[in-house]
């Protein structure tokens, strides 16, 4: 098991930064996802780790050894390419055996490990077909088997599910999770699909504009984003400009949101007192009913419903408080719930300070 450490690695193309100096560590056996919009530098970072492109600065350390000067074939990593890059002139078995043969293993061992890898992805019966004779999902499995056959400590995956249709993607997602669990390999996985990132990752490295925005677990990234970009990229969020004031007590603050006309206590550390935003997820806001009592500590704000979309289990509301539009996601439990959401109706929004979060603008 090996730890991968990236120290101040950067890459420029002419005058465009493909990756600004980046530092991060991937623990042995960890599943780290590089998530971000296209052009955010995630594939650049992956290619730098693989050695497919040379970095302008920084070091890449594998178990303390600097590998940044090594060509890709000496780094001992595995990689699953976007659209797989299977060798079209080799059969499935030959593709999978390629990495083993490059390591000059004895013929018997090559055969045995090839078989093992093929069984692992349940393609034993297809060993003698050419890639073009396989379906997209099967090609995907071959690519996985080829990268895993020689048991690399780290496997890089570049949008491996991008070319598959939705159902297959679902299935392969669990397949990849299972392989990671069973083999204990570290995986660095590039995707722009949030759901894939949430399901698979131990940690997510959120990237934006050629730099790392935030590295955290999926839960932390969702509930405690540090920046506006993080708050908006993962899930939906309402963001309101706010002022943070120091209150009595060690870490206690008061957050004032002028747009909503509310002030609330905020017990956690804040990212700074200037240029801050209050984040409230649509599902964290409740629409108060006339009969229920306002729970203690929860703030109530008067609002007017502008539109209402019935989505089945949930109902999406657009409500307005003063001059500010707010998105609200409400569970639909009965037909009566829907009646009170007619556009124009006046309602009370309940906001729990415990569910609010302050981010950098």
């Amino acid at each position: 098991m090996q730890e991968l450490r990236i120290e101040g690695v950067s890459k420029r193309y002419h005058h465009v930064a493909a990756l600004t100096a980046t530092t991060l560590t991937v623990a042995a056996g960890e599943f780290l996802t590089l998530l971000g919009p296209s052009g955010s530098g995630k594939t650049t970072l992956l290619s730098l780790i693989a050695g497919l492109i040379d970095s302008d600065s920084g070091r890449i350390l594998l178990d303390g050894q600097d590998i940044s000067g090594l060509p890709p074939y000496r780094r001992g990593l595995g990689m699953v390419f976007q659209n797989y890059a299977l060798f079209p002139h080799m059969t499935v078995a030959e593709n999978v055996a390629f990495g083993l043969q490059a390591r000059r293993l004895p013929v018997a061992e090559v055969q045995q490990k090839t078989q093992l890898a093929l069984d692992m992805v349940r393609l034993g019966a297809f060993a003698h077909r050419l890639p073009k004779e396989l379906s997209g999902g099967q090609q995907q499995r071959v690519a996985l088997a080829r990268a895993l056959a020689y048991q690399p400590a780290i496997v890089l995956m570049d949008e491996p599910l991008g070319a598959l249709d939705r159902n297959l993607r679902e299935e392969m997602k669990f397949e990849i999770a299972r392989l990671h669990r069973e083999l204990g390999t570290s995986v660095i996985y590039v995707t722009h699909d949030q759901e894939e990132a949430l399901v698979l990752s131990d940690r997510i490295c959120l990237m934006n504009q050629a730099r790392v925005e935030q590295i955290d677990t999926a839960q932390a990234l969702y509930f405690k984003p540090q920046t506006r970009f993080a708050a908006e990229f993962l899930g939906e969020s309402n963001l309101f400009p706010c002022q943070v004031q120091k209150a009595d007590g060690a870490d206690a603050h008061v957050v004032a949101v002028d747009a909503l006309g509310i002030r609330m206590p905020y017990p956690e550390p804040v990212p700074g007192s200037e240029n801050t935003l209050l984040m409230l997820r649509p599902e964290s806001i409740e629409v108060g009913t006339a009969t229920a009592r306002l729970p203690e500590g929860v703030l109530a704000v008067q609002a007017q419903i502008r539109s209402c979309q019935f989505l089945g289990a949930m109902t999406r509301l657009m409500v307005r408080v003063g001059e500010t539009d707010i998105r609200v996601l409400q569970r639909t439990t009965s037909l009566n719930d829907l009646h009170q959401f007619t556009p124009g109706a006046r309602v009370q929004l309940w906001m729990d300070p415990g569910r609010c979060h302050v981010v950098k603008a």
Binding site: M79, F81, H89, L156
Partner: protein
């Protein structure tokens, strides 16, 4: 009635081309080849074949032809592959300009290219001048009229074909396969030997085939740059037909040449399929259901691989291979510029010399050799060449377009055999087509006629035009036409506003290639023109046999500029406006 007409209508597009090829290609070639074993007087007889094979002067010529062709092929592949690889790896302006550097010598007339070597390798030529300047000693003798000169001329003439046949195959290889091999731990030499080279093999084999087949029928370079000991079969055939009127012997030589070529072609088709010869304009097989491979094919594949690995493995361990891979680009680029592109340019200064012979450095400055071209013979030849070239372009385009549409959109099972038939003129050595047409036209009274020349040149140009048009039709997205129809555009409006504007650039570049092919053509012209009805290349050839003077340099310079202009124009049209191939 309707039912009977339907299949006729569906296949109407391919009919004109096939009928034309039957009349102007298959019948004359078959006729002339049959003369080798059959004559109206003696009936069936193997005597001519036997005479060719046992008479030492003929059999050594045959063997020498094969030997020169083989060496030419080997050197064209060894030199052409790195150049193709270099262009394949480049992007943008660098790629375009290097591509042009290959395209220009490709379309430079073989005559012009051979004249250039006369200037370079002659007793008073540029190479000797350079040697003298470096060593201080006067050069001993001419470097011409020997095997080396012939090989240099042939490799120079044919290497562009090798490059342009290999390049599309390299371009079609997924560029991530090499990094993928490296990510799996394969050293560059290993990745090259086990991934890139096997995948490029169809292109390399096709290039080898085309170069070999062209060399076997070559006569210009051996006649101009070689001595008596470099006479090749085509030279002998020309002599037999034009001077000795010995048809049975000429046909026997042609038949042997044809047998070698046909055998190689059959081998190639068996190994790689016809489609790889069409290069980028691949006519895609319908991607059907997933099918299991046959055990026999599997066994064959495994055997090939094992054999290849045996060879490749020690090669990858040779210390020279990584160095080659590392410095290959620079060497290839330098070779490309120095060897392929530069020689023809030496003719330009020579055409302005005052001196009466071709020597180096030229003594400036005089227009006299251009003035010498202003005679009725040269003028009528130029006029004839231009009109024939235009007519050839129009005629071949008119037949190739419907055929391409048929091949891409309508053909089903008959696609591959029809494609083989249509590409056949590219494979049969030109000299055989030429004597076939000579034989046929003599009976029809077409010798010396403008029309006969157009027919002959169209046969030669058709495969090139067809390949281009297949690519054009393939790149044309039929849904654009449907979209226009949905918007309410009628047939004419769609044709005028959508179909034609999209097809026109490709069609124009196909036309220009036919134009250049015809303008450059000597073999057919050698037989089909007669008396005063010469073409430019024929006029130059006659002049060259008579006396090598700077007139030829002047004529070459004009032709070179004309052709280069056309090629650059065609390429510019293709790149700027042509429909982009759809990404898969």
């Amino acid at each position: 009635m309707k039912i009977a007409l339907a299949p006729l209508m569906r296949n109407a597009g391919v009919a004109p081309l096939l009928v034309f090829l039957a009349i102007a290609f298959f019948v004359p070639v078959a006729m002339v080849l049959s003369l080798a074993v059959w004559s109206p007087v003696d009936g069936f007889s193997l005597a001519s074949l036997q005479r060719i094979l046992v008479t030492p002067i003929y059999s050594t010529t045959l063997l020498r032809t094969l030997e020169i062709s083989l060496w030419t092929t080997v050197m064209c592949l060894l030199g052409g592959f790195p150049i193709a690889l270099l262009i394949n790896r480049l992007r943008g302006a660098a790629r375009t300009s290097l591509y042009l550097l290959v395209l220009l010598p490709l379309w430079t007339s073989f005559l012009v290219k051979s004249f250039a070597w006369l200037v370079l390798l002659g007793k008073n030529g540029a190479v000797n001048a350079l040697i003298t300047a470096l060593t201080g000693e006067p050069a001993a003798s001419s470097l011409l009229f020997n095997l080396n000169a012939v090989l240099i001329g042939m490799v120079h003439g044919l290497m562009p074909f090798a490059v342009l046949t290999i390049l599309p195959v390299l371009d079609a290889i997924d560029p991530r396969l090499t990094p993928a091999a490296a990510s799996l731990g394969a050293r560059p030499a290993e990745g090259f030997m086990r991934v890139l080279l096997p995948l490029a093999m169809p292109g390399v084999a096709a290039a080898g085939l085309i170069v070999f087949v062209t060399s076997v029928g070559f006569f210009i370079v051996p006649a101009l740059l070689g001595g008596p000991r470099q006479t090749m079969v085509a030279n002998v055939i020309i002599e037999m037909v034009l001077d000795l009127l010995n048809w049975p012997l000429a046909s026997a030589a042609a038949l042997l040449m044809f047998a070698v070529v046909a055998g190689l072609f059959a081998l190639y088709i068996h190994g790689f399929g016809i489609e790889s010869l069409v290069g980028r304009a691949r006519v895609q097989a319908p991607t059907g259901a997933v099918r299991a491979p046959s055990p026999r094919r599997m066994a064959w594949r495994r055997w090939c691989w094992m054999a290849w690995d045996r060879v490749a493995e020690p090669l990858t361990r040779m210390p020279v291979v990584p160095a080659l891979l590392r410095h290959g680009r620079g060497v290839a680029g330098l070779a490309l510029v120095l060897f392929l592109a530069l020689p023809a340019l030496f003719l330009v200064p020579v055409s302005f010399t005052v001196s009466g012979i071709i020597d180096w450095p030229p003594q400036f400055f005089s227009w006299r050799w251009y003035a010498a071209l202003d005679t009725p013979a040269w003028r009528s030849a130029a006029w004839r060449s231009l009109t024939v070239a235009c007519a050839t372009g129009v005629l071949s385009l008119a037949m190739a377009y419907p055929a391409a549409v048929w091949l891409v959109r309508k053909a089903q099972r008959s696609r591959v055999p029809v494609l083989v038939l249509m590409m056949a003129p590219m494979i049969v050595p030109r000299i055989i087509i030429a004597i076939g047409l000579f034989y046929l036209f003599a009976r029809l009274g077409l010798i010396g006629s403008w029309f006969g020349l157009v027919l002959g040149h169209t046969v030669i140009a058709l495969p090139f035009v067809l390949v281009t048009m297949i690519a054009v039709v393939q790149a044309y997205d039929e849904r654009l036409d449907q979209a226009a129809a949905v918007c309410g555009a009628g047939t004419l409006l769609r044709l005028r506003r959508v179909t034609l504007p999209l097809l026109a650039p490709g069609a124009l570049s196909a036309f220009l290639f036919a134009f250049v092919t015809s303008l450059d053509e000597l073999t057919i012209a050698l037989f089909v023109t007669g008396g005063l009805s010469s073409t430019l290349p024929k006029q130059m050839w006659d002049e060259a046999l008579l006396r090598v003077s700077p007139t030829l340099a002047a004529a070459s310079t004009i032709i070179f500029l004309l052709m280069s202009g056309t090629v650059v124009l065609a390429q510019a049209i293709r790149q700027r406006r042509g429909p982009q191939p759809r990404t898969q």
